[in-house]
Amino acid sequence: MRKLVAGAIPLLAALVAFLIGALMLVAIGASPWEGLKALVDGAFGDTNALAVTAVKATPLLLVGAGITIAFRASVINIGGEGQIVAGALLSTMVALLVPDLPAILLVPLVLIAGLIGGGIAGAIPGALKAYASVNEILSTIMLNLVMVQLMNYLLRGPLIDPLEVEAGTRIPQTERLSDNAALPTLIEGTRLHLGVVIALLAAVAAYVLLWRTPLGFRLRAVGHSPEAAKAAGIKVKQSTTAALAISGSLGGLAGAILVFGSEGQRMVTDGSSAGFTGSAGFNGIVAALFGGLHPLWTIPSSFLFGGLLTGATNLQRVLQVPAALAVALNGIVVVFVVSSGRVRERLEQFTSKRAELNAALKDGDS
C-alpha cells in the first residue's frame, strides 16, 4: 500500500504541473482540455506520432546513456551539446569525402565517425580532468561554446554547399549529403529510422559495459572511490578519461544520427548549438536523471521526454500558442516531477560512496 502511494507521487506531481500548464493556457485564452488532447495526440496519437516521438527520443537516449556511464565513474558531463556537434561534423566530413561508397559501408562509416568525433570532444575534458585537475563541469561547458564556433566556421567556410556560394545566398549549410549514408527508414510512411534501434542497442550496450565488463567494473570502482581503486591497481586517470570519452562518443553518435536520419541529410546552423541539437545535450541529462541514472531505465524516460517535446509541437500548432509556452511547461513538469519522492529514492539508491557514508553515520548516530 505504501509503495502504491509512493508510486503515485510523481504522477501527482505531474498532474499539478499540468494543472499550472492548464492555468497558463486559460490565461492566454486556449482550452486546457484541447491542449491536453493535442499534447497526447501529438506524442502518442497514431503510428506516425509514435514514430516521431521515438525519433525525438533517440538523441536523448544516446546522450542519457552516456551520462549514466560518466556518472558511474563520478564524472559529470555537461558537454552533450558540443559532443553532438562534434560527432555530426566528423560524420558529415566523412560523407563529403567518400560519398560514393555503397550504403553497406558508408552507413557504418558515418556512424563510427560520429562516435569518434564525440569521443574526441569527450576525451579532451576527460584528460584535462585526469591529468590537469581541470573541473569537467567548467571544461565541458566551455567546450560547448568552442564547438558551436567550430561548427559555424566549418559550415560557412570549408564545408559550405558550393551552390550557396554560387547563388550568393551563403546559408551556412552543407550540400545535401550522399543518400548512401542515409539511415534506412524502418516503417515505410513514417519517420522511424534505423537510428532509433541503434540508440536502443547503445543503451543496452551501456548497461552491459557497466555491469558485465572489466572496463565497466573499473569505471564503477573509480566512481565509487578513486583511492580504493588506485590501491587495487586500477589506472584512475585512464579510467576517468575513458569514461568521458565513451560518454562523449554516444553524444557524437547522436549527432551522426541527427544528420543522416532525423534532419534530412545535411547540416545547417543558426549560429547556436540548440538550433542543430534541439538542446538534446541538456534534455538527455534530464532523461538520464529521470531514469535514475540507469541506462535501461533511461529508455522509457527518454521516450516520455521525447513525447513531451513532440506533443508540445502539436500543442503549439493546434492551439496556436507560442512555442515559449511549451518550453516553460517542460520546465514546470521537470521541477515538479523531480520534487516527488520516488524519483529521489531511486537516485539515492544509486548514488556513490558518500550516500553509504551517510548511512554509516546514521547508524552510528542512532
Binding site: I171, R176, G271, S272, T313
Partner: protein, 332 residues
Amino acid sequence: MNNKRKSLSIMRLLALLLSLAMVAAACGGSDDAGGGSVAESDTDLTFAIVAPSASDDLAFTQSMVDAVKALGIEPQITDGTFVVEEAASAIRGYADDGVNVVIAHGTQYGASLAEIAPDFPDTTFIWGTATDTQGLDNVFAYYPEANEGGYVNGVMAAALTNSGVIGVVGPVEAGDAVAYVNGFAKGAEAGGAEVNITYTGSFGDVALASEAAQAHLTNNADVLTGSAQMVVGAVTVATGEGVPWFGTQANQTPMGPDVVVASQVYHWEVVLEQMIEEIEGGTLGGKAYAVTLENGGLEIEYNDGFDLPDDVKAKAEETIAGIIDGSIDAGV
C-alpha cells in the same frame, strides 16, 4: 523541532502561492496581444506559416507574418522552430489539416520540404529564402536582393559620416546578413567611406553586439549599421551616443526613435500576391521570386524622427532609381 517543521511548511505554502501569483501575472493584460482588425481577404485560400524565430521579432519572421496579414489573410502560425525536425512535423501537420498554402519561412526547411511536398500534390508550399524550388512543381521560392537596400543605406551612411569611418555589426558571416553587409560596404565605399565589419559569432548575443558597437565607436566610427536579431544591443549604443543607425529586415525605428535613419524593409506581400494569382489560376508552384527595389518588395523606409538632410535623401532616391534602371550595380 516542531516549530521548525511549521515554519518550513509555511514556506512551502508561501512558495506555492508565489508561483501561482507569477502565473497570474502572465494572465493579466494578455488581451492586448493578438486580435486587431484585419482587412477582408479577397482570397479563399487558407494560409499557415512555419518560421524559425518569434513572430514578433522585428526582423525575419515578423516580415513574413506582416506580409501575409497585409494581404488581409489571418494565417495559422508555428514559430520558434529552428530545429528542422519540429518544423517538418508542423509543415506536415498543416498540410494534413487541409491548409491550402503552407509557408516554410526558413532556408533550412528545404530538405524536409523535398520529402513532404510530393505527398501533398494539392497543397502549395512557399519556401524561402531560397533561389530555386528544388524541381518541385507545388513549391514556390522567394528571396530578397538584400544587397540593394544595403547599397542605398551605405550611400546615405557615407554622406552622413564626418570621420569617414562606418561600423558594421553582423552575426555570423552567412546568409542574407552577408548580402546586406556586402551591399552596404559597396555603397559606403562608393561614397568614399571606410567600412569596418565585425561578425560577433552569434545571432543572439545582445551584450556582444553592444560591445562590438562600442569598439567601432572607439575606433572613430560615427555611423553604424548591422543585421540580425542581436543588433538591438548595437542600436541602444547608437542611441546612447547619438550616432546614426541604419536598419534592415524590418523597420527598426521603434528600437531607436532618435537615431534610426532608415531601414530596408522586406515586403513579401508583393511576391505573395503574384503567387496567389498563380495558385488561383491552377499553377501550384515551380517558380522562384525575388523581392527587389524594382518590384517594391524591398523598400527603404525613412524615420521621420531623424533629421535627414534633403540632399542625402535625394542621393538615396537617386541611388534607388539607379539600381532600378540598372545604371548602378549593387551586386556583390
